[in-house]
Every structure is written in C-alpha cells, then in structure tokens.
C-alpha cells in the first residue's frame, strides 16, 4: 500500500503543479481548457521537479520526500494563485456534451473503440513497468546508474569521463557508459524512489506510463483545438499510442528517448497552434517543452533547433523559406567542400555517405515497429502535396523537413551511421519525431482551417 501511495504521489504532485502552471500560462488565453493543461501538465511538472531537486542539491539540502514535496506543493499553490480564477470543468464540458449528443451512434462507437483500446494498452504497459526490473542495456548502463548513486547520496554527485575517474582518484566522482548525459530522467527516477521510501528499480519507472498517458491527453486536446471532432481526435490519439515502438519504450522503461519524443511532440504541437492562433501562451508552452528537450538528451538540442525555422516561416514566409533554403545550401556546401570530419555536440559529421537505407527500410516498412505510420505518411504527403507549403501548413512542413533532414544527416553522414547499420539506433530518432509527425498528418488531412475550437 505504501508503494502504491508513493507511486501515486510521485506522479500526482508534479502533474498537479504542472497543470496549474499551464493554466497560469494560459491565463489570458481565450480557449483555456483543462484538457491541454492536464496533457502538458505532467511533463511541465516533472521538469519543475527536477529543477527543485537541482536547486536543493546545489543549496546543500539533502533530498528527502519532504525536502522536495514541500517546494512542489508550494509551486502548485503558486500556480493556482497565478492561474486564478480557474475555469469550471463543468462549464467547459457543456459544449462538448452538446456536440457529443449530435454524433451518430457509429461515430460514438469508433470513439469508444479507440478509447478502450488505448486505455487497455496504457494499463497493460503500466503493469509491465511495475513488475519488470530494468531490462534495456542503456537503462542500467547510463541512466539507472546515475539514479542509483544520486538516490544513495541524496544529492547530485558528479559523473566524470573514465580518464578523469582514473586521474582524479576522488571516491565521490563516478563514471558510467555516458557520464555526461543530462540528469533529468535519472532525477525523476530518484524522485519516485523518494516517494516510495526505498530504491525500487521497477516502480521508479512510473514516469514512463504517466508520460505516455499525458502525451495522449495532450495530443487529443491539441487535435480538438485544430477543429477535429472527438472521434477523429481519438482515432489519431489511438494511432499514436498504439505504435509498437513507442509502446516498447514505455514497457521496457528506463531509457530517455520517449521523453524526448513527448517533449518535442508537445513543443511542435504548441508551436503549430501558435502559428494558427498567435496566442502567446502557445508560444510559451512550445518554448518550455523545447527547453526540456536538451535537458533530457543531448540530441534534444538539435530537435529544439528544428523548431526555429518554422517560427521564422510563420512570421514571414518569404524570409523563412529563404532561411531554410540557405540552411540547405550550407549543408550541401559542407558535403561538397567541407572537411571530412567535423565534431558537433558529440556527433562526428562526415562528408562521406554511408548507405543505411536497407536497415531503415526494413524497420520502417517490413517489421511492425510502426504499424502503418510510414506507409500512411507517404500516402498522405503524396495525396496532400498541394497543401504542404500553403500559408497555414508551411511552418509545420518546415518543421518536419527539419526533423527528417536532421535524421538524414545523422544516419547517412555521421558517426551514428554504424549504430544504424547495426540497428541499435535505427528507430530511435524516428521515435523522437513520431508524435509530431502523427499530428502533422492529422493537420494535413484536416480540411478545415480551423480557428481555435474552445474545449
């Protein structure tokens, strides 16, 4: 019972604080629904929790449940005060219920079918996480290591490069497979263990199913804001959360990639909403989620950078296209005239082309890693090619071009090619862009250029 209470607290407290702060961010927003706040709330709150832990560690305050939970409670209270008056969920539900009443029975059945399948999936994944000890290699060689040590000492202690470890001789300087990887995800595991009151290698992964649920809610709420009806939004939410490779990263919890996927996806969705509505709160949310990306994984920085060109395109399409063209020209010039190797944030870029198309094609189109997503993406883009660069879609298309370009450069022209060829990396970067991609496909298929649809 203590475990269950601890896990519930570890998820609920950040979620509450985050949701209240999202409501506060959206205070002056005309369409201030609870659903986006709940969807974005968990990741926002989780990010806040890691900040509180970092501050406590830097201030020399040893971590304990009280030392972290009390500031989180205070943050939740501050969010509540900043966000007052909060809208009534009941008032917000009324137009939803009216719309629901007008739906034919078959559409309601589609909604419930997808809802039930999604709920069963998430429940099963949560049980898998609760029972299974860490399984993936990365989980116990570079993420769980930091969590284990930081939990033991109740603060952040440094992880250093192996050569420094040998040189320094400091018993409090640790090492693991990737000592310099960011600490946000291990901090969340430590937080969960603090709530449970002991080290538990299974239950500490509660953030993974919680994040998957939050991603689903955020996706659904943003889909509704684009004007999609409840069944359509639910179908696409089901499409996203049923993707096997995404599910695997929840079930075999402990690896940070799904956090990058969720943060980047939520950032892209909020940004794209901003390009349509120009509500400042959307831009703030997008910036917040984009800022979380590099705090989770180093390549999160690259993903965050792909969100800059669409902002320029949204502000001025011509200048934006010119900037994108210039970037492409610079990249091409590097390939033609650049030095054979160039190190950027740990990636070694190469001008030499490495053909990794075969494993990529096998994983995207032969194996069931992504169900029909990549077939569907090609079909939708071909069918809707005329819409791609229309003013309302151009920022989204530019974002996806940036994402695909990033993956192409990393896979075909960098030191990561080996990881793609031996298939250890082949699905990881696609996973990061998949929530954004599914939303992009929904937008492409959306006929209505919707003004915001209040929830």
């Amino acid at each position: 019972m203590r475990d269950l209470t601890g896990v519930a607290l570890s998820v609920a407290l950040p979620w509450l604080a985050g949701a209240l702060w999202v409501m506060a961010i959206r205070r002056d927003c005309g369409e201030r629904g609870w659903l986006p706040a709940v969807g974005y709330g968990y990741l926002t709150g989780a990010f806040l929790t890691t900040l509180v832990m970092r501050v406590a560690s830097a201030a020399g305050v040893g971590w304990s449940l009280g030392a972290i939970a009390l500031p989180m409670l205070a943050l939740a209270l501050a969010g509540y005060v900043a966000g007052r008056p909060l809208p009534s969920p009941r008032v917000q539900w009324t137009p939803e219920a009216r719309e629901w009443d007008t739906l034919p029975g078959s559409l309601r059945a589609v909604f419930w079918l997808c809802f039930v399948l999604t709920t069963i999936r998430l429940a099963g994944l949560a049980l898998e996480v609760a029972w299974r000890p860490l399984l993936p290699w990365d989980a116990w060689s570079q993420w769980g290591t930091k969590a284990r040590v930081w939990f033991e000492f109740g603060r952040i202690v440094p992880f250093v490069a192996p050569a420094d470890w040998l040189r320094m001789g400091d018993p409090m300087a640790f090492m693991d497979m990737h000592s310099y990887y960011p600490g946000a995800v291990p901090l969340l595991q430590v937080w969960t263990n603090l709530c449970i009151g002991r080290w538990d290698e299974s239950l500490m992964n509660a953030p993974w199913p919680a994040l998957a649920a939050a991603l689903g809610i955020a996706f659904y709420s943003q889909a509704r804001r684009t004007g999609a009806g409840a069944p359509k939004a639910m179908v696409f939410t089901y499409f996203l959360l049923s993707l096997p490779f995404l599910d695997i990263h929840v079930a075999l919890a402990g690896v940070a990639d799904i956090f990058v996927a969720a943060a980047y996806g939520m950032a892209a969705m909020a940004l794209w909403q901003w390009t349509r509505t120009r509500q400042r709160s959307d831009l703030v949310l997008a910036a917040l989620m984009a800022a979380a990306c590099p705090a989770i994984k180093i390549e999160g920085m690259f993903w965050a950078l792909t969100l800059i060109p669409p902002v320029i395109v949204a502000v001025n399409r011509r200048i934006g296209f010119a900037a994108v063209g210039l970037l492409a020209a610079v990249a091409l010039s590097y390939l033609l005239f650049g030095p054979p190797q160039l190190t950027v944030w740990g990636y070694v870029l190469r001008t030499e082309f490495t053909d990794v198309s075969l494993p990529l094609a096998q994983h995207l189109f032969i194996m069931d890693n992504w169900h029909l997503l990549w077939y569907g993406a090609i079909a939708v883009i071909v069918l809707r090619h005329r819409r791609l660069l229309q003013p309302d879609m151009a920022p989204m298309t530019v974002t996806m071009l940036g994402a695909v370009g990033f993956i192409a450069v990393v896979y075909y022209f960098s030191s990561a090619s080996g990881g793609v060829d031996n298939e250890s990396l082949v699905n990881r970067l696609p996973l990061h862009m998949v929530p954004a991609l599914v939303f992009y496909l929904l937008l492409l298929l959306c006929r209505r250029r919707a003004a915001a649809n209040p929830l």
């Binding site: 049980l127 399984l135 769980g144 001789g169 096997p244 890693n369």
Partner: protein, 401 residues
C-alpha cells in the same frame, strides 16, 4: 477527406464498415494467394516430400567441434576464420525446393555470419553461396528463389560459419521443405502468430524475426489496404461516382486495428509471462528470477565483500557484456569499468589509490600473486594489495594498500 470522416461511418448512405470489411478481406486473400503462389515454386496443391538431413549425416569439414547426441557442436573456427558443415544429398530439383532451413542454436547469434553453400549436379566443380539472415530465434532460413545458382539438381548443401564464434553453435539438422500454396500459407500464418518476447534487444529490435518472414503482416496489410483502397476508388470512378471517404477511413481503421490486435495479444501474453516471473517479488527476488540470475548471485557475493559506499572499485574482466552488466550490480559503489569493446587496458599501477578495491573475474590482463599479496602487470610492475575475497575459479577481490 477528414471532413467526410464524420459521415464515413455514420451509415447514412450505406454501410461503410461492411463495404470496407468485404474489400479488406478480399484484398488480404489476393495478397496472400499471390505471395503463396510466388513462393510455392509452381506447386499449387501437392507439395513434394521434404528432405531432412539429421546431424548424424552432417560432416564438419572445417573448424573444430564434436558430435553430441543429435547435434553437431561447432566450437571454433579454423585459422582462416571459417567453419563448414556439409552433406551430400540425393539430387533434388532446385525449382521445387526454393527454401533451406538450418536447425541451429547458440547463445550469441549476432556476431555470426552464416552462408548456405551448395553444389549442383550440372556444374560439379563449382559451388554457390547465399547469405543467411538469422536472428537467433527459430530456424535459420534462406529463400533461394532469387538466387541465380539455385537451379538444376542440387547435389549437396553446406553451412559456412564466419564472424565471431563466442559461444558454441549447435546444428541439429538441415531441412529442404517441399512447398506448395497451402504449405506456404501455413508458414505465413505460423509466422504471423509468432510471439515476440521482451528481451534485451527488444528496445531496438522488437520484431527482429520478421525480417525473414515470407510475408510480414505489416507488408501484407499495407498491400491489402492499398489494393482495397485503389480497387474501391477505381470502381467508384468507373461508375462515375465520387468515392465515399467513409469507406476509405473505415479501411484504414480496420487495417490498423488488425495489426494492433496482434500487437495487443503479444503484449497481453508478455504481461502474463512478466507477472509469473516478477509480480509480487522484491528486487532481489526479481534478479533471482531473471535470465542473468547466476551473474547477479556472483556479483552479490562480491558486493557483500566490499565496504559500503563511498568506495572506488575497479572491475576487471575481459568480456565486454559481462563487464558492463556486472558493474550495474556494484552501484551505488563507485565502480570503474573499461568502456572499450576491444583493446581492454587495465589501470596503471599509479592509478590504483590506497583503499581502492580491485575485482578481477575471467581477466587475463593482471595477475594476482597470492603468496606475496601483489597485483602483477604483464610487464612485471607490481602493487601491494590485501586479499578480501578469493575464489578459484571465480572472482578475486583485493584492496590496494
């Protein structure tokens, strides 16, 4: 298109789900029959008898190994980095037998490079070969329909093994199955019903076995969906009607749900396995129930001999995977392990500080002179240590003086 979605399944004009279901079933049937016909080598109904060669008739012509029970165990490659198991067979027509299956087992399949080698009666002085993609689960299967050399009468087949043979390779038999449309269909359905258990590699390769499927469920579904959508659209245009988008949406949803139900069944089955293995257990008990329980038990013994953290521990073992996984069990102690796959270098004597602990296990770099209580480097350098734990064979734990 999406605007029509809301109307798509409402059943106002027709039954889009019924239409979509009929179309999809028909399309699956066409795709399956087409694939089965392609793989059946012209045998529609009656399959020629399968040819099975047991291990007793396999000859290890290169490399070293032995015959144990019903299998040949390949233990090492020869100096040229090759092992070959071969057998002569009563010549059979290549066209009627487009597939060869090797019944293999090994604990470490990914470092292996396998090839099928064969000879034909028509060209007795020549051998042909084709690579075999094998995930390590199930038989190693090679499809030879596209191979130029797979023609005429096959007189002998062999298995060539290259790469790194870290663990012995057990070869139980080679089968050349006779195929027909029904047998191919049966194989396809069996492959679709394969259970994909969660393993260490599942985080990157959850469906590894599917790459060798005759027709993966995803490809079949994509073709069936595309074919059904196209057939419906063309038929509507032929009748000078606008295609009903509801039918197209229903097709997409149905195809997706079909794929996802298999995945859900897999997850459900896995959850049952996970519950049996781990539910209600403490972390220690979970480790004992895990596949690497022996390693955990060993590392637990070593950990118990170490002082509590903070303490620096040098973990030295030659095997990379053992080094990485074993280290995990030492945390939260401050454990050092060499991250390089090859060229493992033990720490220099001056890098070992007084109070550091050294754990050696299956390690060839440093020697321990038990009589003089010294760690000895290959070049003769020495460092005085105290013995904390000594097992022979087994791990040794030493404290640097």
């Amino acid at each position: 298109m999406t605007a029509a979605f809301d109307a798509a399944v409402s059943g106002r004009r027709q039954e889009p789900f019924a239409t979509a279901a009929s179309l999809l079933i028909a399309a699956y049937a066409v795709v399956l029959l087409g694939a089965a016909a392609m793989h059946a080598g012209g045998s529609w109904f009656a399959a020629p008898a399968s040819i099975t060669v047991p291990a007793s008739r396999l000859e290890l012509v290169r490399g070293t190994g032995q015959r144990i029970g019903d299998a040949v165990i390949v233990e090492a490659l020869d100096a040229g980095g090759l092992a070959v198991l071969s057998t002569r067979v009563t010549p059979f027509p290549a066209k009627a037998y487009p597939r060869v299956e090797w019944d293999l087992r090994t604990a470490d399949p990914r470092a292996l490079s396998l090839s099928l080698v064969w000879a034909t009666r028509e060209q007795p002085g020549r051998t042909f070969s084709a690579p075999i993609a094998w995930s390590g689960t199930g038989p190693a299967v090679v499809d030879l329909r596209e191979e130029d050399g797979w023609r005429g009468s096959i007189a002998g087949v062999a298995l060539a093994v290259r790469g790194t043979l870290a663990q012995p390779l057990e070869v139980a038999a080679v089968t050349v199955p006779g195929v027909s449309v029904p047998t191919v269909l049966g194989r396809i359905f069996r492959q679709w019903a394969t259970f994909f258990p969660f393993r260490g590699i599942s985080i990157t390769l959850p469906f590894d076995e599917e790459r060798t499927n005759t027709l993966s469920l995803l490809v079949a579904t994509a073709f069936a969906l595309g074919g059904a959508a196209m057939a419906y659209t063309l038929a509507a245009r032929y009748r000078k009607r606008r295609p009903d988008a509801r039918v197209l949406w229903a097709l997409l949803l149905a195809a997706w749900v079909i794929l996802d139900l298999r995945w859900q069944a897999n997850l459900g089955w896995q959850l049952v396995q996970t519950a049996r293995q781990f539910a209600g257990k403490s972390i220690e008990e979970k480790y004992q129930a895990s596949v690497d329980h022996d390693l955990h038990a060993l590392m637990r013994k070593v950990s118990d001999a170490l002082p509590p953290p903070p303490v620096r521990v040098h973990f030295l073992t030659d095997d990379y995977a053992l080094r990485m996984r074993g280290s995990w069990f030492f945390y939260p102690r401050n454990v050092y392990h060499d991250l390089s796959h090859k060229d493992l270098r033990p720490p220099e004597p001056e890098q070992l500080r007084a109070g550091d602990h050294v754990v050696t296990f299956l390690h060839t770099g440093l020697a321990y002179d038990r009589e003089r209580k010294m760690l000895v480097w290959p070049d003769g350098r020495r460092k005085a240590v105290d013995e904390v734990l000594f097992q022979d064979p087994g791990p040794v734990v030493l404290r640097v003086r």
